[in-house]
């Protein structure tokens, strides 16, 4: 990645082994090399920058301490992502065990006041908001495969599930996003347009449940 400019020469595995061998500069260099992608995965999985920062920090410390036990049966980046994703999922589970906090999500009874204005909003923000409504298992798979571009095989290792499970979670997540984003049940919508204006008016059954 671009962060490594000028510091080529040591592979991820070299850095991890150097770290295990007592070179404590090496681990920081490894994290610096990959931190933007780790951050992107954590931020989109958790949907909250403060929680994402805590999760990535926890994960980095865990990886720092566990590095000596890295057996090399996956790529170093896969291993790092797995630790970060697990730290994120831990936080989601802890969050689920706490009293529900109301999310800024317009319910079916509320008029979708910002609906018209939303048409002008960057599509990316609308997609991010819809992504945040997915169940976390689907969201994590979608973030890794469709957003970050990891292969199904690598994502399966990161998530510690079968490849078929990754495919299934991605497919169901895409289906739900299509419903959230483009109001699929309206046959008059031309394809590929109206992505924003229908966001608030068409809630998938059960989408509201995920918000609590």
């Amino acid at each position: 990645m671009e962060d490594t400019a000028g510091e080529q020469g040591r592979s991820d595995l070299d850095l991890l082994r150097a770290h295990a061998g007592g070179d404590h500069e090496a681990f920081g260099e490894l994290i610096q090399r990959h931190r933007d992608r780790l951050w992107a995965v954590a931020l989109r999985t958790l949907g909250n920058p403060d929680e994402a920062a805590d999760a990535v920090q926890d994960a980095c410390i865990s990886a720092f301490r566990a590095a000596a036990g890295f057996r090399g049966d996956s790529a170093v980046t896969t291993w790092l992502h797995r630790i970060v994703v697990n730290a994120c999922l831990d936080r989601v589970r802890r969050r689920a065990s706490r009293p529900a906090v109301a999310l800024p999500d317009s319910g079916p009874d509320e008029p979708a006041a910002p609906g018209d204005a939303l048409a002008d909003v960057d599509t990316g923000l609308v997609v991010e908001a819809a992504l945040a409504k997915l169940p976390v298992e689907q969201r994590t798979a979608i973030v890794l495969v469709d957003v970050e571009g990891y292969s199904v095989a690598e994502t399966a290792v990161i998530l510690d599930v079968a490849e078929g499970t990754v495919k299934s979670r991605c497919a169901r997540g895409r289906a739900r996003l299509a419903i959230l984003l483009v109001g699929l049940r309206n046959p008059d919508d031309p394809p590929g347009v109206g992505t924003a204006s229908t966001t608030n008016t068409r809630q998938a059954p059960g989408a509201g449940k995920e918000a609590t």
Binding site: D36, S168, A178
Partner: protein
């Protein structure tokens, strides 16, 4: 999912499963026959493809500099303290710094803490290294002053001379920031050692030029320190160098802070409004000092 259609069309979920190759051959073939002749289902497939394209088009989200600094600090604390010392004395090849793009919104650091002693030790090691580098660069090695500065710094990590602010008026850019900051640290450290050698007298080589009027507020030490505290996420951090200058044409202050890695420094480029509540951050870079 309960998106079961009531009129003979497959559910959206089913079409998504079909697209992901999750269905057995017989089911797939049957669905494919229907979808190929059905405008409504073809439209659903189109929209699933649009969703994938929209997901792939989401912009990258670089880690904010404050989060990166926080994690660096946490890792530093996880490492044995001996590591920092060995890093400072080891010879290092010159390498380009890392200039990170700035996130849309500068977020206040959360639980960013660093023991004051660790900061002081880092500064001391850095000063010792930077003075040596400065001497090499200028071509005339002043053994006495650099050795004195090094011994003082190493022996009394709490007693760090304050940075000598300069007002170069230079217009930094993203591409010249790294080399500019290296030079700035070198001259500041050299001025520091000259100041020590001359028993505290101010350095004639760093006469302050009139700064941009917009930066007037930050010329006051208290205002500058509030800004530095905001950047560092904790009070008491002394900048290694400060330059009242410009960045990409706009008035800016270049503030150089110690990094967890004694061979590197953090370069913070802030605008005139940097204060305790907001950084007014324009750019952030971790710069590896040549040496």
């Amino acid at each position: 999912m309960s998106e079961q259609s009531t009129d003979g069309h497959p559910a959206v979920d089913t079409l998504a499963d079909l697209g992901a190759g999750l269905l057995d051959e017989r089911t797939s073939d049957g669905l494919r026959t229907h979808v190929d002749g059905c405008a409504r289902c073809a439209e659903v497939e189109d929209r699933l493809a649009v969703v994938r394209a929209q997901l792939a088009a989401l912009p990258p989200v670089p880690m904010p500099p404050t989060v990166a600094a926080r994690i660096d600090t946490a890792l530093r604390r996880a490492a044995p303290s001996k590591a920092a010392a060995s890093g400072a004395t080891r010879g290092r090849p010159a390498a380009s710094g890392t200039v990170l793009p700035l996130p849309d919104r500068h977020r206040r650091p959360g639980r960013f803490t660093m023991p004051a002693g660790a900061v002081a030790a880092g500064v001391a090691l850095l000063l010792a290294g930077a003075v040596g580098f400065g001497a090499l660069r200028s071509g005339e090695t002043n053994h006495t002053s650099s050795a004195t500065a090094g011994r003082k710094a190493a022996g009394a990590p709490g007693a760090i001379a304050p940075a000598h602010p300069v007002a170069s008026g230079r217009n930094y850019s993203a591409t010249t920031l790294v080399t500019g900051v290296r030079a700035l640290v070198t001259t500041s450290a050299a001025a520091d050692s000259r100041g020590r050698a001359a028993d505290g007298s101010s350095s004639p080589g760093l006469t302050s030029l009139p700064a941009d009027a917009a930066l007037g507020r930050l010329r006051q030490p208290a205002a500058l320190q509030a800004c530095v505290t905001e950047l560092a996420g904790q009070p008491g951090v002394r900048p290694l160098a400060v330059d009242y200058a410009r960045f990409q044409g706009a008035p800016a202050v270049i503030i150089v802070l110690p990094d967890r890695d004694p061979a590197k420094v953090q370069a913070w480029v802030v605008g005139p409004n940097c204060a305790a509540s907001q950084a007014d951050l324009k750019r952030y870079a971790v710069v590896r000092l040549a040496g």
